[in-house]
Subunit: 272 residues, 2 copies
């Protein structure tokens, strides 16, 4: 391990566990960085092979398997599996693969879940939503890292900075809050876009007309904090418009409740 | 009026009422399109002069006033005032200005509010959130138009297409639903960004780390409808993560309620 880090060119051999969106982005990014990808493990052979093909199309050969005992020895194991699959994989961790550093990439999973796999273990959590085939500008992304000891922390940091623009140490406890914040900023925000689209479709208006508005709503945050960028009837305390909107949602108690709760939440911050 | 529209080069003289974000964007856009800006009226001289200065910096001279009776005669009057200021301005509409077409730009205000101003009246409602000094790609924006008669509708359409990429007829009744949808897609989505930032600040994490995530959340909608782009614990029905998140929000009943309501709303769409 120390050899790996003392080396002037950090170039670890990697094995990837998982073949989903995050696994795919990381595998390709590490391969492009010059790190050999020793193996890809996935629960199904189809998905392992699909990721291996993506790598092969870029000129990188790898071995793929759906049998955990065939995982190839590596310097760094990157575990990008569903949250509840991580403990199961750790419980059956191959004896020959205990010498490296194992890192998981999950927002809500404590680093200690990895304690049974390798002596050195940590977390590599890039703050982004990944789609398999949509390229991203990694240099803009912050990666949050953690390690159970100095070695794991250094390797996690070296792995993170090899791809992402910014690397920040964060404890498992704080990472859960980061993940919770991401649920609001990404998942719940997207649900607001979905509810807006539902209202438009119900009135025969093409939801695509909202895209420039949504782009601009996101874009404004490059120059102002969200609470400074707040617009709309609630921040203006425009009770007449709020009243009309609640009336319009009379037959839709679900949307009316959401409208009420979020309007109260905005009013509380600007008019109390 | 018919002369105006029959002319092969549509080039109406404009008077603008208002000097806020929408008024500023429209005044500059119309001036650049070659339309003479006869006057700018605003409730305060300061704001009228500020907009006149912006136009002057681009080489366009105009007259500005805070006295409605000094509004200059024009072919088209564009009323970009706060919702509740519109009826007041209509009630004191200058006698010399009754010959043109008057258009307001408000999402929630019925076209009929303008009936007392001119014979021809309508609406020009561009679906976007405008910041005074932030340039926008108008060609991507849909503008919704309405008129009390064919003349007003044609003038509103000609005004809209002179600046915006897309112009769509929409009744006052449907425009209210469009505006309601925009509250969800823009105002409430931004509030989700604000709540995410609050959680991060409470745990000493720089909220700027969310910007690439927020950009990507918006960007995904260029290739998928919002309900197809939904990610997160609710759409995966991951009750373990949802339970942990609700526990973490135990001391924050406001955020806990919002988390609960939005998670139920997503679950209802994907798991019922």
């Amino acid at each position: 391990m120390d050899n790996l880090l003392n080396n002037s060119t950090f170039c670890p051999i990697i094995s990837i566990l998982g073949a989903g969106n995050v696994a795919t982005h990381l595998a390709v990014a590490f391969a492009r960085r010059g790190f050999p990808i020793a193996s890809i493990y996935s629960r199904t052979m189809d998905s392992a092979e699909a990721l291996a093909r993506i790598l092969e199309n870029e000129g990188y050969k790898t071995f793929c398997t759906n049998r955990l005992e065939q995982l190839q020895q590596a310097d760094v194991y990157v575990v990008s599996l569903k949250d509840d699959a991580i403990p199961r994989v750790v419980a059956s961790w191959p004896k020959g693969c205990k010498g490296g550093v194992v890192l998981h990439t999950a927002g809500s999973v404590n680093v200690e879940v990895l304690a049974g796999a390798c002596e050195h273990y940590g977390v590599l959590y890039p703050m982004q939503t990944f789609s398999k085939y949509k390229p991203l500008d990694y240099k803009k992304i912050t990666c949050f890292v953690e390690g159970n000891d100095e070695t794991a922390e250094s390797v996690a940091t070296a792995m993170g900075t090899s791809v992402f623009g910014n690397c920040v140490k964060l404890s498992s406890a704080d990472r859960r809050h980061l993940h919770l914040a991401a649920v609001f900023s990404c998942n719940f925000a997207n649900h607001m876009f979905a509810l807006g689209a539902e209202i438009l479709e119900n009135h025969g208006i093409d939801p695509a007309c909202m895209i420039p508005l949504i782009d601009e709503t996101a874009s404004k945050l490059h120059s102002a904090a969200p609470h400074m960028a707040q617009t709309g009837p609630a921040v203006r305390n425009d009770q007449s418009v709020i009243g009309h909107h609640l009336e319009m949602l009379q037959d839709n108690p679900e949307l009316q409740n959401i409208y009420k709760l979020l309007t109260e939440s905005i009013l509380r911050r600007f008019h109390s």
